[in-house]
Amino acid sequence: MGIYPYLVAAWLAGVGFYGVITSRNYVHLVVCLTVIQASTYVLLLSVGFVNGGQAPIFADVPSTSVVVDPVVQALSLTDVVVEATVMALLLALVVQAKKRFGNVDPDSVNRMRG
């Protein structure tokens, strides 16, 4: 099956979105966002894969051997670290929400006003 990795990426995105929609706890929601991010990494790296290719590190192989694509790897590796920090920002918002509204249930937050 030549498209199995792409299907796994689509499944991860779908499962993550399902978790976000049916979430009853803001921390659970942030973890489901992490799952959605994981699906993008899987998709990017699967697109760049070459059959029989090596890792694009040329320390001990000649620079003309078959390697996988380095550009998508460059995009993914910066993304992994940065998204962890964005998740920290979301968690800080969750802590503030708890302080303001008293609970972390997304469904009950919009019923309290003022």
Binding site: V31, A38, Y41, A55, L77, A84, L91, V94, V95
Partner: protein, 94 residues
């Protein structure tokens, strides 16, 4: 596509599904760490050592630590909220 890669992809999908279906945040942090480990193995198999290194450190160290610290803070806010509520009740009664 080798069988190892197919098995690893399936493991990633299964652990992600389990992460979403668990509703308790503390247990989710543990399963998220496991999913990060499978993801790092998958990235190694896809010939991407840099990304695997990032994912290993971030997914096993940074994200579970931040999650557990936040959960502890939320519980502390709960405890302080109960105390403040009790004080208010006493004041309004007395």
């Amino acid at each position: 596509m080798s069988a190892f890669l197919a098995v690893l992809l399936t493991l990633v999908a299964v652990s992600a599904t389990v992460t979403v279906l668990i509703r308790e945040p503390v247990r989710q942090a543990i399963v998220l760490g496991i999913m990060g480990l499978f993801l790092a193995l998958l990235f190694f198999t896809l010939q991407a050592p840099d990304v695997a290194l990032s994912e290993l450190t971030v997914g096993s160290l940074v994200i579970p630590v931040m999650l557990t610290l936040t959960i502890a803070k939320l519980r502390a806010l709960d405890a302080r909220g109960d105390e403040a509520q009790e004080d208010e009740d006493e004041e309004s009664r007395g």
